[in-house]
């Protein structure tokens, strides 16, 4: 035997897609919504976003370093996305330390204590947001109007207006305003067009499937159209409920998080419907005007059991 060749188990070729590539694709798909947020609310939002991302990276690096693991994990893109999503879920008027604390909590408690990437039960960014919401509710519910509106501070997002029955104000908000983001809201959730552009990119790349976003949004649209309180059945403004609030951001970028959503197609459909029903119920009956983040967090908790009961039958399966 003159020379020895490399031996390994088949297959001897793999696709070019890697975890890192997917993560960066998600990052780039989120950029347009961020740009829109900064444009609408001013450059301060950019500082908030950067603070959240930096805090996420530093927290990740500190914990990875303390555990003496490979530093390459820090830049796999997942920490940056967590920071980015957390910032997108903040009102533009919060003090600068809030994204820092939120990202720290999201990475340290939301992700790392469970064992890091791939092991966390809840979407880390939403864990961070829930923590901030409980700790500093006033900051988290003080909203800003877009830069070009005269009085900067307002108390009401479109959903708050609806919740508190200030329907007179609602007339000022057209579907077009909701699409382009001409309304108060969180930094990353307002510009629906930018979010959809990013989501389309992920669809084309095949990194997210239709199952969760479609069923989620369809369920919210159907339920809010069907149950419109005193106004009677089947009279709700479905478009308003889909476009306002954080539904588009949540359905495309947070509910679809690989780690915390079910594995199979059937499970994903159940997950999406569950998220939709919970979002509707929180918006309708609970104290908060918006329910996307809590709906996703609750369904995250249900993911293992959904996986268990939707385990696929294999090819040629027969009853034993």
């Amino acid at each position: 035997m003159e020379e020895s060749y490399i031996v390994s188990i088949a297959p001897h070729m793999t696709s070019e897609v890697s975890t890192r590539k997917i993560m960066w694709a998600v990052f780039w798909s989120l950029v347009p919504a961020g740009i829109a947020g900064v444009y609408v609310f001013g450059v301060r939002s950019l500082f908030l976003i950067m603070a959240a991302v930096l805090s996420a990276l530093i927290t990740e690096a500190t914990i990875v370093g303390a555990r003496k693991r490979s530093m390459s994990n820090v830049f796999d893109g997942s920490a940056i996305i967590t920071g980015l999503l957390l910032a997108y879920n903040l009102p533009p008027g919060v003090p600068l330390w809030m994204p820092v604390v939120g990202s720290f909590f999201a990475i340290a408690i939301g992700k790392k204590v469970f064992g890091g990437l791939g092991q966390n039960i809840f979407n880390p960014a939403l864990v961070g947001r829930a923590f901030l919401m409980m700790s500093w509710p006033v900051y988290m519910t003080t909203w800003q109007n877009p830069r070009w509106v005269a009085d900067a501070v307002t108390r009401a997002t479109p959903l708050t207006i609806y919740k508190e029955n200030m329907t007179g104000l609602l007339r000022n908000i057209s579907p077009w305003d909701l699409l382009v983001g001409n309304r108060p809201g969180c930094i990353g959730e307002i510009c629906v067009i930018a979010l959809l552009a990013g989501a389309a990119y992920l669809f084309i790349k095949g990194y997210i499937s239709w199952h969760i976003p479609f069923t989620y949004i369809a369920t919210v649209a159907l339920t809010s159209w069907a149950f419109n309180g005193r106004a009677g059945l089947f009279t709700g403004d479905a478009l308003f409920f889909v476009l306002s609030g954080g539904l588009i951001l949540g359905a495309f970028f947070m509910a679809t998080d690989y780690v915390t959503s079910p594995l199979g197609a059937r499970g994903k459909v159940i997950f999406g419907i569950g998220c939709g029903l919970l979002t509707f119920m929180i918006r309708k009956f609970a104290g908060y005007p918006e329910g996307v983040s809590y709906a996703i967090l609750i369904m995250n908790a249900a993911t293992p059991i959904i996986d268990r009961y939707t385990f696929p039958k294999w090819f040629g399966w027969r009853k034993q």
């Binding site: 035997m1 020379e3 020895s4 060749y5 490399i6 031996v7 390994s8 188990i9 088949a10 297959p11 001897h12 070729m13 793999t14 696709s15 897609v17 890697s18 975890t19 590539k21 997917i22 796999d76 890091g116 990437l117 791939g118 092991q119 690989y258 780690v259 959503s261 079910p262 594995l263 199979g264 197609a265 994903k268 385990f311 696929p312 039958k313 294999w314 090819f315 040629g316 399966w317 027969r318």
Partner: protein
């Protein structure tokens, strides 16, 4: 007409290396090493002793038992060694070495059989068995066994598998273009043995030349056939379209039950190369002493399809195509998805070898493994509808009985999950290990 199967991937095909060149005749090697266990089943038993002179085509090892296959001398010469040698399946098997001095007649002279039409089914099966024919698609299951299903299994269809979904390989594609008439004749023999009226030739839709050639010959021979219908089933290009259960699903929309065989749903699948070998055995009396293989890869100076005598050492074939452009780092028997990597070139071509692929160093970069992020891609592509990621965790924790309950035994190791995994987890390594550890009961 074509149906589809669940899952599958679309790897780059790399078939253009060898797509258009005609299948060449390899030079006759001076030495062959013929393993006695090239097929599924019990190994053949040597009939010759060291020092014996044999002629090409002579029987040198007889079958032992029903699921077994005889072995023939593939060159004329002297038997110099009968000892265990490496084979492509990564194990040592008893092999017969024949060396020629160079002055023997190496041409196999077919003895044309007369009155082939009047042969009975039993006689045909005997001819196929004695010619040592096994499935040439890769699994190398003895063909005479496949052609004699038990009485209680009614067979209504024969599918000729010309799918060739493995990247790089084109030998079946070239055979269909160059020898469609012989392939049809082989198919007709198999249809006669099985008493089947519906026959199909399954070809992927990227092999237009093969589809054209087969449809042309079917049209030309229409008058000569009595009732047998032959249909070219054009299937979507998707790996692993050519896997037996998947091709049945795609052609007939029948699902072979888990753990079952194609005959459970009334059909038999044979490779196009096997059909050619059946034709040669029945009409020309020629045993299986050579086969077409694809020699390919970016390192190879002249990638090509060639007919090679069984037992030719890879190191000798290298001379036939004029060596390498680049040094190969990986030598694979078969295609890149399911082929077996070899540590040396002193490996003989066997009946089940469909191609030899040489990959250079920069083509085999093995990316670092990272953690599973539950993306579910492996579930989307598994043609058997398994959950490779969950099975991986079970095997990792040595929960073998749990893995069995989740269907790990159904994995046929196509490698689609590994191909697609963004975390680059070697899922198939876990599958193979888990399958080997399945508890008995």
């Amino acid at each position: 007409m074509p149906y589809k199967f669940y899952g599958g991937i679309h790897p780059p095909t790399f078939k253009t290396f060898t797509l258009d060149g005609p299948t060449k005749r390899a030079y006759i090697p001076a030495k062959v090493v013929i393993p006695l266990s090239q097929h599924v089943g019990s190994p053949a038993e040597p009939l010759v002793a060291i020092g014996a002179s044999v002629n090409v085509g002579a029987l040198i090892a007889k079958q032992t038992g029903y699921v077994s296959s005889p072995v023939h001398a593939t060159i004329s010469g002297k038997v110099t060694r009968i000892a265990p040698s490496p084979t492509p399946a990564l194990a040592r098997a008893l092999s017969i070495t024949i060396e020629s001095k160079g002055d023997e007649d190496q041409e196999y002279r077919p003895s044309k059989r007369q009155n082939t039409e009047s042969l009975s089914k039993e006689e045909l099966i005997d001819i196929i068995r004695d010619a040592g024919i096994v499935g040439l698609g890769g699994a190398a299951f003895p063909t005479h066994v496949k052609l004699s299903p038990p009485k209680d299994k009614a067979i209504d269809s024969v599918i000729l598998n010309g799918v060739e979904c493995e990247p790089y390989l084109t030998c079946d594609h070239r055979l269909m273009i160059e020898r469609p008439k012989e392939i049809l004749a082989g198919l007709a023999i198999m249809a006669k043995i099985l008493d089947v009226k519906n026959t199909y030739i399954a070809i992927e839709d990227n092999k237009l030349a093969a589809i054209y050639a087969m449809e042309k010959i079917i049209k030309e021979t229409r008058d000569k056939r009595q009732e047998t219908s032959i249909e070219v089933a054009v299937l979507k290009t998707k790996y692993p379209q050519g896997a037996e259960k998947q091709v049945i699903k795609s052609v007939l929309n029948r699902v072979v039950p888990a753990g079952g065989l194609p005959m459970d749903v009334g059909c038999i699948v044979q490779n196009v190369g096997t059909a050619l070998a059946v034709y040669e055995a029945v009409y020309l009396g020629k045993p299986l002493i050579e086969r077409a293989i694809t020699v390919t890869g970016s390192c190879v100076k002249e990638p090509m399809n060639i007919y090679v005598r069984i037992g030719t050492l890879l190191s000798d074939i290298v001379n036939a195509f004029g060596g390498f452009k680049k040094d190969p780092a990986k030598v694979i028997f078969g295609g890149p998805m399911m082929g077996i990597a070899q540590y040396t070139m002193d490996i003989p071509v066997t009946k089940g070898t469909s191609g030899i692929l040489f990959l250079s160093k920069d083509e085999i970069k093995k990316p670092a493994e990272s953690v599973c992020i539950r993306c579910g891609k492996c579930i989307e592509v598994c043609p058997m509808g398994l959950v490779p990621s969950t099975l991986m965790y079970n095997v990792k924790k040595e929960f073998f009985s749990q893995a069995k309950e989740l269907g790990i035994a159904n994995c046929f190791e196509c490698g689609a999950c590994v191909y697609t995994c963004p975390a680059k987890i070697p899922l198939l390594d876990y599958m193979k290990f888990g399958k080997a550890k399945i508890p008995a009961s």
